[in-house]
């Protein structure tokens, strides 16, 4: 059936122009964008398979060297062939913990971002479509959430509930759902007043049809580019909480808590311990900067940052 349809379509230039797929130029990245895409893909692979590839378990203590001699003090060892990035404050392999930590940090942030999107889009579109009162109530409540600095909301909630991975996910997901709500609502309000929605209404379609067939497809693309920004914010937020000792709890490794745990090693300089602090910090930074540059690159081709080049 599908093949027959395709056959019927005349292959003319006019058809090409009508095509729904965005122009190819949109995803053409500059070399630095490609490089950053490489970094992100690298971290995704580490997040998925790092725990299998890592030389040690995240909670494994390095007690003896390769020939079986016991270490006097395995903490804050300098890099050797056995431990490529040295050991942390209680003698665990830093490289392995970073590889395991990728899964925790990226995994939690990713799930939290998805949650933020589901809740934010659902409420945002509802507010735009469902009418004045629902909109007013939802918008005011969201304003309350946004009137907290996010780190304060985090601190207060964790003081009450304690910290665990599910709580971290729900907490950051809900906090950042507020900003997704605002974007989704604003975008849907633009769509809702268009003629084609009015036609659908006149045809007698229900609210569900309008949301799923008219609004959602039209706001999907701008929301997708926003996903990366939201992901960065959530990575930074969760890392900050972990850094404060209020995020992911030991012995699970996580980049933010690794920085905190090994902070005392910083004073020893590179010969002992500083790498244990710097490596996870660099891991977070490389990931967030890379995502940021990719977004910048995409929006530059989209005309987003053209305003900077104008005048």
């Amino acid at each position: 059936m599908k093949n027959e349809l395709e056959k019927d379509v005349p292959e003319t230039d006019a058809y090409e122009e009508l095509h729904d797929v965005p122009a190819k130029s949109r995803l053409r990245l500059s070399w630095i964008g490609k490089f950053c895409l490489g970094i992100v893909i690298f971290w995704i692979i580490i997040a998925l398979f790092g725990s299998y590839l890592a030389p040690y378990h995240e909670a494994h203590f390095i007690e003896e060297d390769l020939t079986g001699n016991e270490f006097d003090d395995p903490s804050f060892m300098s890099p050797t062939r056995q431990v490529l990035l040295g050991t942390d404050y209680i003698g665990r392999d830093v490289l392995s913990r970073i590889m395991w930590g990728a899964r925790t940090t990226i995994g939690i942030s990713f799930v939290a971002t998805i949650l933020a999107y589901i809740v934010g889009i659902f409420l945002g579109v509802t507010a735009a479509v469902a009418g004045k009162w629902t909109d007013a109530i939802l918008s005011r409540s969201i304003e309350v959430v946004l009137s907290f600095p996010s780190i304060m909301l985090g601190l207060i909630t964790i003081a009450a509930f304690g910290s665990s991975i599910p709580i971290l996910i729900v907490l950051s997901g809900l906090i950042y759902a507020a900003s997704v709500f605002r974007i989704a609502r604003a975008l849907s309000l633009d769509i809702i007043v268009q003629d084609f929605v009015e036609v659908t209404r006149a045809r007698g379609e229900g609210l569900w049809w309008i949301i799923t067939r008219e609004v959602l497809p039209n706001i999907a693309m701008p929301l997708a580019t926003d996903f990366g920004i939201r992901l960065i914010f959530i990575i930074l937020f969760i890392s900050s909480l972990s850094f404060l000792g209020l995020g992911v709890q030991p012995p699970i490794s996580d980049w933010g808590s690794m920085v905190r745990e090994n902070l005392q090693g910083l004073a020893n300089g590179f010969s002992g311990g500083a790498i244990a602090t710097i490596a996870p910090a660099l891991a977070i930074a490389s990931l967030t900067i890379a995502i940021n540059i990719i977004i910048d690159d995409i929006s530059a081709h989209d005309g987003g940052s053209l305003s900077g080049k104008m005048v």
Binding site: L155, A159, A267, I289, G308, V311
Partner: protein, 315 residues
Amino acid sequence: MWIMAARRILIGIFLIWAVSAFIFLITQILPGDAAELILGQTATDASLEALREKLGLNQAWYTQYLNWIYGLVTGDLGVSVAGGSTIADLIKFRIGNTLFVGGIVAVISIPLSLSLGLTAAMMPGSMIDRVITATTLGLIAVPDFFVAIFLILILAVGLGWFPSVSYLRGNEGFLKSLYVLTLPIFTLVLVVSAQMTRMTRAGILNVMSSPYIEMAILKGIPRRTIILRHALLNSIGPIINVIALNLAYLVSGVVIMETIFAYPGLAKLMVDGVQTRDIPLVQACGMIFCTTFVVLILIADLATIVSNPRLRHPK
């Protein structure tokens, strides 16, 4: 204008109320109550009852809420669960430290970032602009503690110029305190200025793309004159807005900074409170930070209203 401003102020008051309600709510949904938290699981029923009586936990929730609000306003914040000293005393000692650092950071970063933002906006696409844009983007994209760690590594560990822990006894002179606090101040200045510079640049470029500026360009007026004479005055509203918003960002920056440098400020007090689950302390500190945040954002919005003639004289 007055109606708009008054409405905005009313919204601000509503938000502060909502924040207080949320922070209060936390205690109500806690498993168990503050008395159990203080005395631990081994406490007898009688002693629990006595403590509840003393803390007023037997009253209805709305009485508790009103008492708490009354306490906040009159400065009677209750007793810290952990230390036993009154929260008001703890906060009084710490809040000065935080304000000291915050004030110095504001004094340095506001002029710095305004001039950087202006420079970048004056020659968009130039080398200077690209360097400024790239650096600030990098600073925003990394965690605050990342900046702090590198400053410690270079300036404290590598070069040994400044101490990496900012402990003040309280009897140092101004210059000595400033020296001890160099790294935390430097960190915060970098983090806050990065945001502010970008927003200033964007604000001015936004004005620059309006039709009247285009007219001025077409008339052949030099770019520098256009920015300084035409664009700058019209960007004052947005710029005040940017300043207030960034002072609000300081609220979150200060939490990380005080932890990493072990600086005895209000945010460190709060983080310690969260770790020991000292709920009354967390509530009081949270209320102070959040109120400051709401008020700063209110100022930002009011600045926008006051500085915009179209909002000042609505048709």
